[in-house]
Symmetry: none
């Protein structure tokens, strides 16, 4: 099976959004052992969409599209897909139900153009959209397959993962299995330098590093005849990497950093509290991404002003006067104060200068102190980031979570 | 002039890297008033690269490529460009000088395959690469133009900005100017339904809606002879939209929702506090995205447990027992408590079931109550989302900020 990916959307042609769907699908198709030699992007223009289909099927027998399934009049990809296969559109009751469910759940007014989204090419199998009103579909005719999915990644990705991927996997002979290890605390260039000889020597399985915000992914990919065979090829590589990088490896595949920390806290029956200044709640918000966190997290403090730092965390007026709000001393007092006020066993605190304003020669933008209270012991880390306000705050959150994760692993090893 | 962008690189086809070059070039070309109707991605395969050129020139007279100019043997895009135009490759002394400059500056040894990069199609004008060893070039023949640039954005972008952009600007007569209005509180399909007749009637400027997380963008694009003329065409359309949607319009272009609220708070000298359960800090974190917020935001409460809700916000034990933590009653008490504990003038509270667990028939996953305290008045909104845990929380944050923004506009209009 040879696939071609077509992204439909004038906003991509105008450069308003980056076509991340294509790279996502390309990677997933490769993992399924399905070759892709060509990608296209076209605007919401019926004639050009139709031409894109005609071109694609001269090179591929499987075409996947993203976008153009919206309720608005410029969304005509579906009509062109039907025209290419010479079939009409008819309303699919399952698709209509999908739309009704979403809109009533959201208490949104149902406008006539919403029903346009329930129209599918005759003979198409609808793909349920759990996060939006645009159902996708799979259409198979005369040895060709067309899979159309909505454009928003939050709608396309679950649709592909839960419905399209299993469907395609059942059709593909060779399997390609990937396992992604997540590392936090080491830089990508260091990881790459460490593994370069190993990576160069590998053909199957392969190993590739990917930089993420604050951490690094290492993807091991094996091509084999069965899932079991592939898993057997991946295992020793994973073992090797885990041996090399130890506690820097915080998980694999769907694991998250906050999940790794959350699990550690639950395993050791520890309660955590947070005290944030420049991150303003993002750290606690990240911890709460982990659904099980309620067993370990009860409260957090967002103390943006000095007064709040004193009132809720008991940071001393003297510390603030002598060392300033952005200092390791304040960070440590915030961490201790958060733990004592909440009765938590561990606490993380953040104070820093996220920017763009507020920097000085002594305390430049990007200077952040992370305080940690761990069963009576207090420590801190000084970080110096060189990103924008948002980037500095996101990196701080990752760093803080990983600091505690590593500390817990060392304490309870 | 009609342009087509071709990205050359197997790593893009495999999804190992995202094709950000295409969106960058697309945006720049649009700003130059050069239409782009099609983008392609092909691997480092000579035959397919040649076919990509042949296809592109049936639709466009300007083709821009990124990638495939490296020193290795699988980089053959340049050869295919030359073959398409029926010319040979010859070494260009300026390109050779470029390579020497870079490698000596980097104190790197010059290997024979580096000189391969100095070979350009006959008649091509070299493009200096200040960050790499691969010169680009511009080739004009028989009414067609080919501009080939290296793949790494750090090399491509300065090459385009400093050399290609001025070159194309001199050729282009028209400019294209876009202005994007941000609307929150109305759905995309409703907006489109309202504006459909208007959009259908428009040709220049054009109007297009784009769905974002929790809000909608409306982009007005005008093609004209000058920036001023384009601005003059956009203005009346913007006025019309602002009149139709009133306070739903929270800003334009770079404006953010949190910035719009932050500015209102500062304008009216109001202090805000937050009290969060299921969003766990994301609401405060979003407010703090706005750099000026320190003048209005001093503290927030993350009360994940019932005990914390009682201790810090004074939510009554009876309310929690009778109505539960996820109820409008609790949301309202949280908002009042946050305002009173902090002495703030306004407060936002959030309590809900983000999922994936914790839902019941009466209180399903996605049920969220937002409480608002505004100078003594207390109100709430009930929301029913149908996204994953993260999506439910992000939509809640947007909804809460917009709820207060609208309330402030109404109160102080």
């Amino acid at each position: 099976m040879t696939a071609e990916i077509i992204a439909i959307g004038t906003e991509i042609l105008l450069g308003d959004i980056v076509n991340t769907n294509a790279s996502y699908l390309a990677r997933e198709l490769a993992a399924l052992g399905i070759n892709t030699y060509h990608q296209q992007v076209v605007g919401d223009n019926p004639q050009r969409v139709l031409e894109a289909f005609e071109e694609a099927y001269t090179r591929a027998n499987l075409v996947l599209t993203t976008g153009g399934l919206g309720p608005t009049t410029d969304d005509l990809s579906k009509e062109m897909g039907a025209r290419y296969f010479g079939v009409g559109l008819k309303e699919d009751p399952r698709a209509r139900q999908n739309i009704e469910d979403i809109l009533t759940k959201r208490k949104r007014e149902i406008t006539p153009n919403n029903w346009k989204q329930a129209m599918l090419p005759e003979g198409a199998e609808p793909l349920y959209n759990e996060n939006g009103t645009a159902p996708g579909f799979i259409l198979e005719m005369s040895g060709k397959m067309l899979i159309m999915m909505p454009g928003p990644p939050s709608e396309m990705k679950p649709m592909f993962d839960k419905q399209v991927k299993p469907f395609l996997a059942a059709r593909s002979s060779a399997v390609m299995v990937s396992r992604t290890l997540h590392l936090c605390g080491v830089g990508e260039s260091f990881v790459e330098h460490e593994l370069k000889p190993m990576m160069d020597a590998m053909t199957n399985p392969t190993l590739a590093p990917y930089a993420k915000t604050g951490y690094v992914d290492l993807r091991i990919t094996a091509k084999a005849q069965s899932q079991e065979e592939a898993a057997g090829m991946i295992h020793p590589v994973e073992e090797d990497i885990r041996k090399r990088f130890g506690s820097y490896v915080f998980g694999a595949d769907g694991d998250t950093l906050e999940g790794a920390l959350g699990q550690l806290l639950l395993d050791h029956n520890l309660k955590i509290a947070t005290a944030e200044s420049c991150t303003g709640g993002l750290l606690a918000g990240r911890l709460v991404n982990y659904p099980g966190i309620s067993g370990a997290f009860e409260q957090g403090f967002i103390t943006y002003s000095n007064e709040a730092k004193q009132k809720y965390l008991g940071v001393s007026e003297e510390t603030l006067r002598l060392h300033g709000a952005v200092s390791w001393q304040t960070a440590c007092e915030m961490a201790r104060g958060a733990a004592e006020a909440s009765g938590a066993d561990v606490a993380l605190s953040v104070t820093g200068i996220a920017g763009p304003e507020g920097g000085t020669p002594e305390k430049p933008v990007g200077l952040v102190y992370i305080g940690m209270y761990l069963l009576g012991d207090i420590s801190y880390q000084e970080c110096n980031y060189r990103k924008d306000r948002q980037g500095n705050r996101e990196n701080t959150v990752v760093q803080a979570i990983n600091m505690l994760r590593i500390a817990l692993l060392e304490k309870f090893q």
